[in-house]
């Protein structure tokens, strides 16, 4: 493979790394923050399942992102992923839980504006509406699940120690499911912009099946996510748990499950076809923000408890961060593309036709 290709892919790997450091912390943050799961265990499970989710079920959400703006030159993909990664990095430094989802959408629109490509309004509206639906859905699922779980615990009356052991096991399972869903849903953010310009070629694996170029691309991105998890997510995990609302281990489990369900429904092709065959409206396969899902879930539990203890000021800051992230990424991408094209003489788009 060309060294230049690897260089261009590096921004995607940087974005993957920041997703691993930031978004993956949402999956195990509450479990590690409440010291129910050791960081080493969390990092190992998270890395493996993020990779599995990305390679096995990552393509659904990637297609929607591709419709928003099919970046058709490696230089453009490099700048879109790079500016999204920078925006996420800046927001993380500011202490706000943002997601690569918001950043990459802003960056793609920045590329569309720079290249004069029209943005598919229907896709944009679908994506933007999920940013509202995602936290609301997570809040609803978390509130219902929390009520159900506490009711079951109250009637089962487990010993404090046994409840602790079950909660630990449940947190590990939910974390694995969460990491899988995160990989499936969010790999599109990391590698989606490289799909149209993928430098890999499809090959057969010992008669088992084909390993497509997109899957290879996703595997590379997922490895970058895993590296992010292992190298940088510990600090984020320790601060995620209990920042917005002090949480019990059971509430922590509910948050992880609600987050994972939301990410799963927005990336599952199986669920989509199931709904289709039943004649029900389908859920769009869109990369949603894991941070929005987690914040929504925490809020759902907080509201169920009567809203006391929720730090509304922090919540307002998080909301502003969500709005600012795509704008920052979009502007960065636009300015970056200008320099890449005019100063470094790189091809950032292929004119259509």
């Amino acid at each position: 493979m060309d060294v230049a290709v690897l260089f261009f892919l590096s921004s995607g790997l940087f974005l993957g790394w920041s997703l691993g450091a930031n978004d993956a912390a949402n999956v195990f943050g509450t479990a590690v923050g409440t010291r129910m799961v050791r960081f080493a265990t969390a990092a190992a499970i998270c890395s493996v399942f993020v990779i599995l989710g990305a390679v096995i079920s990552g393509s659904g959400a990637a297609q929607t992102l591709g419709k928003l703006g099919a970046i058709n030159a490696l230089g453009g993909s490099f700048m879109a992923a790079g500016s999204a990664a920078l925006a996420v990095f800046a927001m993380t430094k500011a202490g706000l839980p943002v997601s690569t989802t918001q950043a990459i959408v802003g960056a793609i629109i920045g590329w569309n504006l720079f290249t004069g490509t029209s943005t598919d309004a229907a896709t944009l509206i679908t994506i933007l509406s999920t940013w509202l639906i995602c936290p609301v859905l997570a809040a609803g699922i978390a509130a219902a699940l929390f009520r159900l779980t506490t009711r079951i615990i109250r009637s089962a009356k487990p010993h404090l120690l046994r409840q602790d052991a079950y909660t630990r096991a449940a947190l590990l399972l939910a974390g694995a499911f969460g990491a899988y869903s995160l990989g499936a849903n969010n790999i599109a953010n990391v590698m989606g912009v490289f799909v149209p310009v993928s430098p890999f070629t499809e090959f057969e694996i010992a008669g088992i099946g084909t390993f497509s170029s997109v899957q290879q691309l996703f595997l590379l991105g997922a490895v970058a996510i895993a590296v992010g998890v292992i190298t940088y997510s510990k600090r984020v995990m320790l601060t995620v748990g209990g920042r917005l609302l002090p949480m019990s281990p059971v509430a922590a489990w509910v948050v992880v499950v609600a987050h994972s369900i939301v990410l799963f429904v927005f990336s599952s092709r199986g669920l989509e076809s199931l709904l289709e065959s039943a004649g029900l409206p389908t859920i769009p396969l869109v990369p949603v923000s894991s941070s929005q899902a987690v914040v929504g879930a925490v809020l759902g539990i907080g509201l169920l408890k009567g809203g006391r203890g929720i730090r509304w000021r922090l919540l307002g800051g998080i909301g502003l961060g969500w709005m600012a992230t795509p704008v920052i990424a979009g502007v960065l991408c636009f300015v970056g593309l200008f320099f890449l094209q005019n100063v470094f003489n790189q091809v950032v788009y292929q004119p259509a036709g």
């Binding site: 009356k157 404090l160 046994r162 602790d164 096991a169």
Partner: protein, 225 residues
């Protein structure tokens, strides 16, 4: 197959360990409860026969239970901390077990005082001493039940807590009445003071039970989901 079984065994190990630890906590509470019954019986024997061989036997039994409970408490706390179990509540469990253990210390201390100092208690006070003993052991028994509920059925803690408060108040009433009666007699002051000390030795158990109940109330709020 064997490998699969050992994997399963390893997988279930945390649950096995948890069960063993649950039994240790239960055994600790059993020992506290049994000590209360022995304490009551020992005081009764003392009132009837003085520091007899049977009294001494009960004292030794409480002594033995106290050291066994100490071992259990240390084992439970060590396991909680080395295996990082119940990270949210282990500090509270540590405090609870230490406070409950101090009740055992009070039983043992009071009986040793009876054995060493051998107070002369006139028959007119026997009834009140026995009642006081009854009330404080009831208070301690209620805190044992509240503690069991803290581990097994958090919502039932309140059902036992109010009984601790009730018996503590009753014990206070009896001890005040008894002290007044002691100081109203013609006994020399040193004997009055001696008898009063024994009222306090016994009444301290109920006071400590109430202190434990106050802490347990906070631990219970913290344990809510």
């Amino acid at each position: 197959m064997a490998a699969k079984e050992s994997m399963l065994g390893r997988g279930l190990l945390p649950f096995r360990r948890t069960k063993a630890l649950e039994s240790e906590i239960d055994a600790f509470l059993d020992k506290l409860s049994e000590s209360g019954l022995l304490f009551k019986r020992a005081v009764q024997i003392y009132l009837e026969e003085g520091a007899s061989a049977e009294f001494d036997q009960k004292l030794q039994a409480v002594n033995r239970l106290e050291s066994e409970a100490d071992k259990l408490r240390r084992s439970v706390i060590t396991q909680l901390y080395t295996q990082t179990l119940i990270p949210e509540s282990r500090g509270d469990v540590l405090g609870l077990l230490e406070n409950l253990d101090s009740l055992l210390g009070l039983y043992e201390g009071a009986l040793w005082s009876f054995s060493i100092e051998q107070p002369e208690i006139s028959a007119e006070f026997h009834g009140d001493y026995a009642t006081l003993c009854d009330q404080v052991v009831h208070a301690a028994e209620a805190i044992v039940l509240a503690s069991r509920a803290f581990f097994r059925n958090i919502e039932a803690v309140g059902d036992h807590m109010h009984k601790v408060m009730f018996y503590e108040k009753e014990a206070d009433k009896v001890s005040t009445k008894l002290k007044r009666a002691i100081f109203a007699t013609d006994l020399p002051l040193y004997r009055k003071a001696h008898l009063r000390n024994f009222v306090e030795h016994i009444d301290n158990v109920a006071d400590r039970a109430e202190d434990v109940a106050d802490r347990l109330a906070i631990y219970t709020i913290k344990r809510s989901f």
